[in-house]
């Protein structure tokens, strides 16, 4: 029996070896093209098994004699890291097998580079989760940021992608600085940066709050929470689709891991005020994410905005949990943490699936703009099927997995009467209301995506001529199918057997909070999901699915038995309207029109209506993210201004610089005696 820590380490080394091996026979891409990704898939599956094993075992530690002298790498695997290893392994396995097919047609120099970076990216994410000291954590965190930066800029010849990559790098480093400062605050001058020392350090409430804020915003920048999200809808679509899936599905979750690790584990005593901060930001992130997603017509950008929204949902669960823990209600706190972690896993699975679906569309048609698509279900039935599962899952519809975690979050909010504080007690349901609104808006958004892209008639591509893709649109290949099927199966398994995962996550919350769900919740069997007590709330997705399938089939057979199945095929009726062209269908922007109407003030909109006597009428609509204008551009302006002032010092003449040195020396001689 291999210990999970050794196993996970072996997987990391394996991934790195695969990445390096792709470079070795220079100019020969056979390994990278045929073997690297399948091998990486097996490594991912193995990591998932080790993660699962770690969840049920006591924590293990290891000190690696690497790194700087006197500063070895500390590794540790406990339930929490085991859970994230499971997430990383299982989801990356699906994405990697898909990538086998997706990257097949790349040129030799590109595929070798992609293979190297891709596997280093995976390995660094696993190391982030395993790290047990601030030093290794930051090394792994930066490796993750850099490898993903180079993956984002795979198509670096396109200027827009270069600038997207730069923005990503910038925000990632701002976040990294905040995290570094947070570790600095937490260690309190002892000189020991192992997590064990940070855990033991005793902070005053003020310093603890500073550390919390640094960690929250530092990790939040990586997670894409409002208002630090602007890089996300730029960078995720720029990357090749499997990499987008990795970033949205898994990389954002390492930030959630960091938050949970620092706030619950390292800082310890959680305060309820922190929970309110998390809740407010989480609610804003949820709403803005979905509202901006509804305005997008670029499929991958839309999915990226949905990642912002889902991070908000996770934060809502986390914030509720922190509020409850802060008030000493550990059972409700455990429920919130479980809801947040469960949504973390669920989002990883369905968002990866959706990005892979978007990748298949891009591969088959060369299209990313929804307004150019239409009727793809007839040309790509397999992709359409898997995408439908992902779309139903993200829309939080029962009996799939997205519903389970939102249900758990609602149940957490319904524990509000336990709180002593009157204001906070009535605030929690309001956050639940935000979640309800966001969930319904997500459903609208995915009706739009699915209806425009897969259903209806094919539209004439206006924005991207499909010259690059000769030949008819084809469905995805075998490797892509396996990848998507794996993730779609994940949506079902997580949706139908939540009780088993609840037990697993309960171990994590017991370890972190010191209390788990009440016994009345745990004694129910695998069929029933019970958060507190069977009389209060229960949900059984398997029975739910069985009944819905049974009654649907019953209806079908009754109709067939007593009547008939005769069908006549005819042209569409459409109220008898004679001339129908595909141009008369809704576009993605038209579908969002009611939202623009209702939530108008939240967007920065520019609309140009053509006049009645315009010979070439053209309707122009531009919807932009307001955060650019109130936060990013002013900050950029101020930064430029300051740099320009400092730039005045640099004259470019050696005599001036000598003068500076001379003045500095004089000043130092006067000051330092």
């Amino acid at each position: 029996m291999v210990s999970p820590l050794a196993g996970a380490l072996a997987v990391i080394v394996g991934w790195m070896t695969i990445g390096l091996a792709a470079l070795v026979p220079a100019g020969n891409a056979f390994f990278a093209r045929r073997l690297a990704f399948p091998l990486g898939t097996f490594a991912g599956l193995a990591l998932a098994v080790f993660g699962l094993q770690a969840l049920w075992m006591p924590a293990q530690q290891l000190i690696l004699p690497l790194g700087l002298p006197d500063l070895p790498f500390h590794l540790r695997v406990d339930g929490l890291s085991g859970f994230f290893l499971l997430l990383l392994g299982a989801v990356s396995a699906g994405i990697t097998i898909y990538a086998t097919g997706y990257f097949r047609e790349e040129t030799a120099d590109r595929i070798t580079l992609i293979t190297l970076l891709y596997h280093f990216f995976l390995a660094s994410m696993a190391l982030v989760v395993l790290a047990d000291d601030a030093y290794l954590f930051m090394v792994a965190w930066e490796t993750m940021a850099l490898s993903s930066y180079f993956l984002v800029t795979t198509d670096h010849k396109i200027p827009a992608i270069r600038s997207a990559g730069f923005l990503y790098l910038l925000v990632a480093h701002l976040g990294a600085i905040a995290i570094l400062l947070c570790f600095g605050v937490m260690h309190g001058g002892s000189g020991d940066y192992t997590f064990a020392a940070l855990r033991a350090a005793d902070l005053t409430p003020a310093w603890a709050t500073v550390a919390f804020l640094l960690a929250f915003f530092g990790f939040g920048a990586k997670a894409g929470m409002i208002p630090l999200h602007a890089w996300l809808p730029e960078a995720h679509p720029a990357a090749p689709s499997p990499v987008s899936a990795l970033m949205s599905g898994i990389m954002l979750k390492t930030a959630i891991y960091g938050m949970v690790r620092v706030i619950y584990d390292l800082l310890g005593s959680v305060r309820w005020e922190w929970g309110i901060v998390v809740l407010v930001i989480g609610a804003a992130t949820t709403l803005f994410g979905v509202l901006y997603a509804l305005m997008q017509h670029d499929l991958k950008r839309l999915l990226a905005y949905h990642s912002v929204e889902n991070i908000g949902i996770i934060l809502l669960g986390l914030g509720m949990s922190m509020v409850f823990v802060g008030f000493g209600q550990t059972a409700a706190g455990a429920l919130g943490l479980i809801a947040a972690l469960y949504h973390t896993l669920n989002h990883a699975v369905f968002k990866a699936l959706l990005f892979l679906g978007a990748g298949s569309i891009l591969h088959a048609t060369g299209l990313r703009n929804l307004n150019d698509m239409g009727g793809l279900i007839r040309k790509m039935p397999v992709t359409a099927f898997y995408f439908l599962i992902g779309a139903l899952a993200i829309s939080a519809l029962p009996p799939l997995n997205g519903f389970v975690s939102e249900w758990l979050t609602f149940q957490t909010a319904l524990q509000a009467p336990l709180l002593d504080h009157g204001v906070v007690r009535s605030l929690l349901p309001l956050f639940a209301a935000t979640l309800a609104l966001a969930g319904a808006l997500t459903a609208m958004c995915f009706v739009k995506v699915y209806g425009i892209a897969f259903l209806g008639q094919a539209r004439e591509p206006e924005h991207a001529p499909r010259a690059a893709h000769a030949g008819p649109t084809h469905d995805c290949g075998a490797a892509e199918r396996i990848g998507m099927a794996w993730l779609a199966a994940g949506c079902f398994v997580l949706g139908l057997f939540p009780a088993s995962f609840l037990l697993m996550l309960n171990r994590i919350s017991t370890a972190l909070i010191g209390g788990g769900l009440p016994d009345s919740a745990l004694e129910s069997n695998w069929l029933w999901l019970v958060p507190t007590h069977a009389a209060k709330a229960s949900y059984s997705p398997l029975i739910f699915l069985a009944v819905i399938v049974a009654v649907t089939l019953l209806a079908f057979f009754l109709v067939r038995r007593f009547y008939h199945g005769r069908v006549r095929v005819a042209p569409p009726w459409d109220c008898g309207f004679p001339a129908q062209t595909p141009r008369m269908q809704d576009t993605a922007d038209a579908f969002g029109q009611p939202i623009r109407h209702v939530f108008g003030p939240l967007y920065r909109m520019r609309r140009e209506l053509p006049g009645p006597d315009d010979p070439k009428p053209r309707f122009v609509l531009q919807v932009e993210d307001r955060h650019w204008y109130w936060l990013y551009l002013p900050v950029a302006r101020v930064t430029n201004l300051i740099s320009a002032k400092i730039g005045l010092l640099q004259q470019g003449r050696i005599s001036t610089y000598l003068l500076y040195s001379f003045c500095t020396l004089i000043a130092l001689l006067i000051l330092v005696r």
Partner: protein
């Protein structure tokens, strides 16, 4: 076989709701005809219509995908499932714990998403328009519905409809202000979700104003029959949810055969009143402009939230 009476009740209720739902529709139409000074159609007209539609050959548009043909059955299945969860005749049904009120809202959302997708399948202009409007109504109505459910859930400390009904039915008779707010909000959601006036007009085929009708334009024969039937079950289910939350008296407990006649009688009485009330409302109100619908529904949402806050205020 300790569950046998429960299962018998479950099957009895599910079949009863499916069979009785068109009757409710007929009753509402009859009341409305009387109010409009018309000669009323037969109470059984919805059944005749269903029988007629089921016998006809289905006409399907050329490019319809499998999704289009599956959707009517899915809709019917979803509504049938809802009819099994709601305590129409009896509480404590064996299937009830499988889905609480949140899952119930989820079932309606599932049905809505499928019908909107099917509407966009053919690629006609009206289909997309209907889908877009339906989703607009849906995303506003769903949170309002959840909030009314949460108010009841906070009062009874549970999201199980069975527990909610038992708590609310056995309390001493006192007016809960929070429930009053929730009731108004629920009524508004009921009107919107069931495509009734003032949000939508179930009898219109005027292209520019229709919402629900625009989505099902391409359906015919048995598919249309199933959708119409599902619509009537939905109305039935919503009304009985309302009864369960706000007038929960007279509902039997599963397995108590003696209480069943009373349950039937009280249900018939409540439905007769509710159906007539719906007809009166529809006769008095006019359909509002589409972009007033968000205002209507956000009022419902705010009322529901207010109800919830009042509950907390009264408690502390």
């Amino acid at each position: 076989m300790e569950h046998a009476p429960g299962i018998a009740f479950q099957i009895l209720q599910s079949v009863f709701v499916v069979l009785a739902a068109p009757l409710l529709m007929g009753w509402v139409n009859q009341c409305r005809a009387w109010l409009q000074n018309r000669a009323a159609p037969s109470l059984l007209l919805p059944y005749y219509t269903l029988a007629k539609l089921l016998q006809k050959d289905a006409v399907i548009a050329r490019d319809a995908s499998p999704l289009f043909r599956v959707t009517p059955y899915v809709l019917f299945g979803c509504m049938w499932l809802a009819a099994g969860i709601v305590p129409v005749l009896a509480t404590d049904l064996p299937f009830a714990p499988a889905a609480d009120v949140i899952a119930l809202v989820g079932v309606f959302a599932l049905a809505r998403v499928f019908s909107a997708l099917a509407a966009m399948d053919i690629g006609t202009s009206f289909g997309g328009l209907g889908a877009r409007r339906e989703m607009l109504i849906g995303f506003l109505a769903e949170p309002a519905m959840l909030m009314t459910m949460f108010t009841a859930a906070f009062i009874s400390g549970s999201t199980q409809l069975t527990t909610i009904v038992e708590t609310l039915a056995h309390r001493e008779f006192a007016i809960y202000p929070s429930l009053a707010f929730a009731a108004v909000a629920f009524l508004m959601v009921l009107l919107a979700e069931n495509a009734r006036i003032p949000i939508d007009n179930p009898t219109t085929h005027l292209e520019l104003t229709m919402i629900h009708e625009a989505m099902i334009l391409e359906y015919s024969a048995r598919h249309l029959a199933l959708i119409e039937w599902a619509v009537s079950i939905k109305l039935f289910a919503y009304m009985t949810i309302g009864f369960a939350l706000f007038v929960p008296w007279g509902i039997a407990e599963a397995g108590h055969w003696g209480a069943l006649p009373l349950a039937f009688a009280s249900l018939a009485l409540k439905l007769a009143f509710a159906g007539a009330g719906l007809a009166v409302l529809e006769a008095m109100l006019a359909k509002v402009r589409l972009f007033l619908a968000p205002e209507f529904l956000s009022t419902a949402f705010l009322l529901a939230v207010l109800g919830m806050l009042i509950h907390f205020l009264m408690q502390s």
